[in-house]
């Protein structure tokens, strides 16, 4: 465990150290102003001394992320399953899905506020809107990737559309779903930060905007670091979930 854990995380650590080192060196050499580019050391120390405020805001953002992404999962599954069961629905809904992704936030934000106020809801909806699309496309194409023969075999066993779906199409889609999940969950965090522009009292997005107005680039970057850590943790969590839900999908890859 311990040696394999080392070899697993070493590259990421080396990468991070090289990057941070280069950044620190550049800042030291160039004497660039801290409000333009603070040193990583300064980001770390200042971030640490403001950990309470950053923490509070991070919790708010994390809440939006998780609730929004959970909602997004429900929406994506529902729609993808519906679309899988009906070619008619697929052709009717797919263009709408694409359209839904083209509405810019400046158009959407006021509508969201008008309809849902400033609570959790509009932010949750925005996160869902940003992330349901990769999930839905991943699922739809995952279901469709089912081998024709496999579905036909089930049918010959007397399986209803629903059972064919459950026993073949669903498991076939899972590997692609997890690919899409990784894309979606990464966007969920930025989506939440972004949704805060649609009106929020706190959250990392608001915190960053305020600190930027105060010329506190170091604190802005400290918040970015927190965001990145949250994202990476969620990203890694998808592998854990995959190992439990669809162990066969990764067997292959682990061998490499």
């Amino acid at each position: 465990m311990s040696t394999s854990a080392v070899s697993r995380f070493a590259p990421a650590l080396v990468g991070a150290v090289v990057l941070v080192g280069a950044w620190q060196a550049y800042v030291s050499v160039s004497h660039i102003k801290p409000q333009i580019l603070p040193s990583p050391w300064r980001v770390a120390t200042q971030g640490w001394s403001h950990r309470d405020v950053i923490g509070t805001n991070a919790v708010a953002t994390l809440q939006v992320t998780l609730v929004g992404f959970a909602f997004s999962l429900i929406v994506a599954w529902t729609l993808a399953v519906a679309v899988d069961f009906s070619g008619w629905l697929r052709r009717a809904l797919l263009p709408m899905f694409v359209t839904s992704q083209t509405i810019p936030i400046i158009v959407l934000a006021p509508m969201m506020i008008t309809w849902f106020g400033f609570g959790l809801l509009p932010k949750v909806l925005l996160v869902a809107l940003v992330t349901f699309f990769p999930l839905a496309i991943g699922l739809i194409e995952g279901f469709a990737a089912t081998e024709r023969e496999a579905g036909a075999l089930l049918q010959s066993m007397g399986a209803s559309r629903w059972k064919q779906f459950r026993y073949v199409r669903l498991p076939t889609a899972l590997p692609r779903f997890f690919t899409a999940l990784r894309i979606g969950v990464t966007y969920a965090v930025v989506g939440a930060i972004f949704a805060e522009y649609a009106g929020a009292e706190n959250g990392l997005g608001i915190y960053m905007a305020r600190q930027k107005q105060m010329f506190r680039t170091d604190l802005v970057l400290a918040a970015v670091v927190v965001t990145a850590v949250i994202s990476i943790l969620l990203f890694v969590a998808t592998y854990a979930v995959e190992r439990v839900v669809a162990p066969w999908a990764r067997q292959e890859r682990q061998k490499r």
């Binding site: 200042q46 506020i113 106020g117 009106g199 009292e201 107005q213 010329f215």
Partner: protein, 315 residues
């Protein structure tokens, strides 16, 4: 920059989409004031980076700012200094929907929702105004930026800060007028609603060009103040397709020219230490100004270094 043969390139950053706060700039461009001075001025499009940030990072030479933002920026060590004040007073106030009878004075805003811009100093200002009126100054602050006005129109938020001559007129045109609480009515110091910030370093390195630029810009604003309909026309012409409500532009320019642009002598652009001290000292005393390392300022800055009239045309 070698401005000897070619026209000197000057980048100018905007605080918002083009509006009548910018008229002087577009007049100077349309009327060829910059070209006559041998300057090549590029207007940087409005974006999410604030003009003070752009100037400080060397990505713009000048930009539109506000006294509050500029004070915060300079306290934090940013390379900015105010060179011209297009508007001589607050041109904003607390705006609530005119039909909100429950909101009769600042103190009634306690516990209400502010549709804000995430701007440095805005919350401190509002708090103080409310307190001066006898309130507690506790309200909900929702950062909305461009969506702030809609939020107030449709009642999701209770108050915001409109520019009288822009969102104010716009609101009337659309049948949802604001009523205002003016800061000065509640014992709050006057301030420059809009200023032009420049890079101190660039100014020092290019004194000639700096003078030419600021004076050409001043000439533009002066023309807009003296002949608002011409000013409005230049603004419209410089931004084809940008304004769908031309009447708004003309009315707004007229209002600014009449009430906000000129000082007592009829001149445009001048700044005084008194006015700078009034509002900026308030920010200092509230303890919200911080230095470059994030520590609250303990000694009051010399406000005369925050602005300069040096580049304006002689009296």
């Amino acid at each position: 920059d070698n401005g000897t043969t070619d026209a000197t390139k000057i980048r100018f950053a905007l605080d918002w989409t083009p509006n009548t706060n910018h008229t002087g700039l577009f007049v100077a461009m349309r009327e060829g004031f910059f070209k006559d001075a041998g300057l090549d001025v590029e207007v940087l499009p409005y974006n999410t980076a604030s003009p003070d940030t752009l100037i400080d990072a060397g990505n713009a030479e000048f930009g539109v700012s506000f006294q509050s933002s500029a004070t915060f920026a300079k306290a934090a060590g940013a390379d900015v200094v105010s060179v011209l004040a297009p508007l001589q007073h607050w041109a904003t106030g607390i705006g609530v929907r005119a039909d909100r009878t429950d909101l009769s004075s600042p103190k009634t805003l306690d516990g209400k929702t502010y549709a804000g811009f995430g701007d440095a100093g805005e919350v401190e200002t509002l708090k103080q105004v409310i307190r001066n009126d006898g309130g507690t100054g506790d309200f909900k602050n929702v950062t909305l930026g461009t969506s702030a006005y809609e939020a107030v129109y449709d009642g999701q938020a209770d108050f915001t800060v409109p520019y009288f001559a822009w969102e104010g007129i716009e609101a009337e045109h659309h049948g949802t007028p604001f009523k205002y609480f003016h800061y000065s009515d509640f014992g709050f110091p006057d301030a420059y609603a809009i200023i032009i910030d420049g890079s101190e370093k660039w100014l020092k390195d290019h004194p000639e060009e700096a003078r030419k630029f600021v004076q050409a810009l001043q000439k533009g604003y002066q023309l807009a103040a003296d002949d608002p309909s011409k000013g409005a026309q230049d603004l419209l012409d410089a931004n084809p397709g940008a304004f769908t409500d031309e009447a708004l532009v003309r009315e707004s320019q007229k209002m600014l020219a009449e009430k906000y642009m000129k000082d007592s002598t009829g001149r445009v652009g001048n700044q005084t230490l008194d006015q700078w001290t009034g509002y900026s000292r308030f920010l200092f005393q509230r303890g919200v100004l911080t230095d470059g390392s994030g520590k609250a300022l303990t000694t009051e800055p010399d406000w005369s270094t925050y602005f300069t009239n040096e580049y304006l045309s002689g009296q």
